[in-house]
């Protein structure tokens, strides 16, 4: 019976050591993973950086102008086409009844 405490302490020490090494091993694994993730982040940042430069390069005004000329049916906006809301004519009574009439006709 005298040996029971000794046995207990030995067992405790053994379990503690095993846990310690287990945790330490896990941490090492996680650190490796962290390092890898950080590398990946850095790689992603680098590609973002390059893509940003490419985006600016693709947005060169002369290129956009050439592409708009080829693919879009647009033209520069002349000042004469810009009107304010207050410049719009009031709807006259005639046109209002005409709209109402066409609405009824559709129904």
């Amino acid at each position: 019976m005298k040996r029971l405490p000794l046995f207990f302490w030995l067992l405790t020490a053994g379990i503690a050591t095993a846990l310690l090494f287990q945790v330490s091993n896990d941490v090492q694994g996680l650190e490796k993973q962290l390092k890898q993730v950080k590398h990946e982040i850095l790689r992603e940042q680098e590609s973002l950086h390059v893509l940003k430069a490419e985006w600016s390069y693709l947005n060169r005004p002369d290129r956009l102008a050439a592409m708009a000329g080829t693919y879009l049916d647009l033209q520069p906006l002349p000042a004469a086409r810009i009107v304010e809301f207050t410049d719009l004519p009031h709807r006259s009574a005639d046109s209002a009844t005409a709209v109402a009439a066409s609405g009824e006709a559709q129904q």
């Binding site: 940042q45 950086h49 390069y57 304010e84």
Partner: protein
């Protein structure tokens, strides 16, 4: 030898093998035998202690390593990888966040000739991938007796892959950084360029070199690449049309002093500045100083009005040319009659302007031009900014010629800043290339009264609606401005054939927000302009086209009802009354 005999005879094996002594018997040894045994025991104890210490040390270290690597020991993984991408040089952005300059990772190719077995074959293979390098040169470099030769800096990814595929063990790659300018020659003069060793050599790259190298945060410029493109394109059209040698243009925000666009043509490719002609690298907008001609009448007129030397109703007789020293001051298109100040301004009369300036004299002129920042180097964030060329000594004749823009050479940037102060209510804002926060409204330095500024706005609008700047009018955007045409100095005399045509404008004239300056260097008269190559023919159309294109982009509401100024202001009445029968009064 044996000190004490046992009681009983020790049993001895006949063959001399020790037998176990009977338990009760103790053998006591003395003398040398005892010493030998003691020595042996001591050695055992010492060895035991040494081994115990060694194992204890190892054990302790084992525990330490397994436990402490989490805490106080530096984690290697954290140090090897930077938390942020480090390019070694910060980006430069325009006001909308477009990248004007950035640093990209590239690879460079070098070789260790000692590891290359067959230089000729390797050279042929490399030359196939890098056609810009001649085979002979590669072969010669590869047979060099050294352990390191550069073959090519900054390969493209495709070239990198192809060289890698060769599998030649003597070829190596070096990861490098390379400065890249996505907009190329569009912003070359402002942004500048950096050398191979990451050192800023021109423009913003040079003036903010330390800052760009020190931080990762991008530097935001006030430029707008869209506007930069519009200005550059329209200037280039005019340069081509009038077979000019170059041009410059600036758009300033009159309220904040921010430079929205700054163009100098011809431009150059900042990715290979070494190949550019020296003239192309010259920034005409800030480094070039020119006699600006009649644009200076803006300042002379503002001076006499602001210093209360004359009122807007005054005027001068312009029928006689002025003799001054060896000069004869004449009008380009003489009216040969008395002209009011608005008329002198809008018809750009030299004779009238000289008489206006002489009411103040040299001291007043120096003081006024000085307060507008025209007599010293501008505070722009560019190393390439020239100080003006002042007359020395500044005699009366200089005062006379400077009043209409001859005899004082200033940079386009200085003129634009000064015009901005004249039209924005009278506060001089130092022109800047850095973006300001949206709510940052600097006070500026008051250089003329709000009343003078308002009068000048009306006069400049009149010069466009009724005067020499008619071609600058962009329908709806209420442009005001002043033409300028100056013969270029050729040594000590003016050359008739080469001139500077310019136009300084602001819009919308009821509350000017944008100041535009366009200048074309050495335009030639063409048939369409009836042989003229004046500011009104060459530079004014640039301004109107730029305004037409930037107006919608910047949300300037067009208005087609005539301005208050155009309708019932005494200024125009004076002009109309005086100008009866002179054409414009009828329209």
């Amino acid at each position: 030898m044996i000190a004490k005999l046992p009681n009983r005879r020790t049993r001895c094996h006949p063959l001399g093998i020790d037998l176990q002594p009977p338990p009760a018997e103790l053998v006591r040894l003395e003398g040398s035998v005892k010493e030998a045994l003691e020595t042996g025991r001591n050695r055992l104890v010492i060895a035991g202690i040494v081994f115990f210490l060694a194992f204890a040390g190892i054990g302790a270290r084992l525990v330490e390593l397994s436990t402490s690597s989490l805490g106080n020991e530096p984690a290697v993984a954290h140090e090897a990888i930077p938390a942020q991408l480090e390019t070694g040089r910060a980006d430069i952005l325009d006001r909308n966040g477009m990248v004007l300059a950035t640093t990209l990772p590239t690879v460079s190719l070098y070789a260790n000739p000692r590891h290359i077995g067959d230089p000729a074959a390797t050279a042929r293979a490399v030359a196939e991938i890098l056609p810009e390098l001649p085979v002979a040169e590669i072969a010669q470099r590869l047979s060099h007796d050294s352990a390191f030769v550069w073959l090519k800096r900054n390969l493209t990814p495709r070239q990198h892959y192809a060289i890698n595929r060769l599998g030649e063990p003597g070829l190596y790659f070096q990861r490098e950084q390379r400065r890249f300018y996505p907009y190329g020659d569009l912003t070359a003069h402002v942004v500048g360029f950096a050398g191979v060793d990451n050192q800023g050599l021109a423009g913003i790259e040079r003036s903010f070199d330390t800052l760009l190298r020190g931080t990762a945060a991008p530097l935001e410029l006030s430029l707008d690449v869209r506007l930069q493109y519009i200005l550059s394109e329209e200037l280039q059209k005019s340069i081509d049309k009038f077979q000019a040698i170059g041009g410059a243009g600036i758009v300033l925000d009159a309220v904040t002093g921010e430079t929205l666009a700054m163009v100098s043509l011809p431009s150059f490719d900042p990715d290979s500045p070494g190949e550019a002609a020296k003239e192309a690298r010259f920034n005409r907008a800030t480094l070039g100083v020119y006699e600006m001609g009649s644009v200076f009448k803006i300042f002379t007129t503002a001076m006499v009005l602001d210093r209360n030397l004359l009122t807007i109703e005054d005027g001068f007789d312009t029928s006689e040319p002025i003799h001054a020293g060896r000069f004869l001051i004449r009008d380009f298109k003489p009216k040969n009659r008395w002209l009011s100040i608005p008329e002198i301004f809008i018809y750009s009369s030299n004779i009238g302007t000289v008489q206006m300036a002489m009411t103040g004299g040299t001291a007043v002129q120096q003081d006024f031009l000085g307060s507008l920042g025209l007599l010293r180097r501008p505070d722009i964030e560019l190393g390439e900014a020239a100080a003006p060329m002042l007359p020395a000594p500044w005699r009366e004749i200089n005062t006379m010629t400077i009043s209409y823009g001859h005899g004082l050479a200033v940079s386009p940037l200085q003129v634009t800043s000064a015009v901005s102060a004249v039209v924005n209510g009278g506060a001089l804002q130092p022109a800047s290339l850095l973006k300001r926060a949206a709510d940052d409204r600097p006070l500026g330095r008051r250089v003329l009264s709000a009343r003078t500024s308002e009068q000048m706005r009306r006069l400049m609008r009149l010069a466009v609606t009724h005067g020499t700047g008619g071609k600058a009018d962009a329908a709806g955007y209420r442009v005001g401005g002043k033409t300028g045409t100056a013969d270029k100095l050729n040594g000590r005399s003016y050359s008739k054939g080469s001139r500077i045509a310019s136009f300084a404008a602001a819009f919308p004239m009821d509350a000017p927000r944008y100041v535009i300056f366009a200048m074309v260097d050495e335009p030639k008269g063409i048939e369409e302009s009836f042989g003229y190559a004046t500011g009104g023919w060459v530079a004014a159309p640039v301004v109107s086209r730029v305004v037409e294109r930037m107006g919608p982009m910047y949300g300037v509401a067009p208005r087609f009802d005539p301005l208050q100024d155009d309708r019932d202001i005494p200024l125009l009445m004076t002009v109309k009354a005086q100008g009866t029968g002179h054409g414009f009064a009828t329209n």
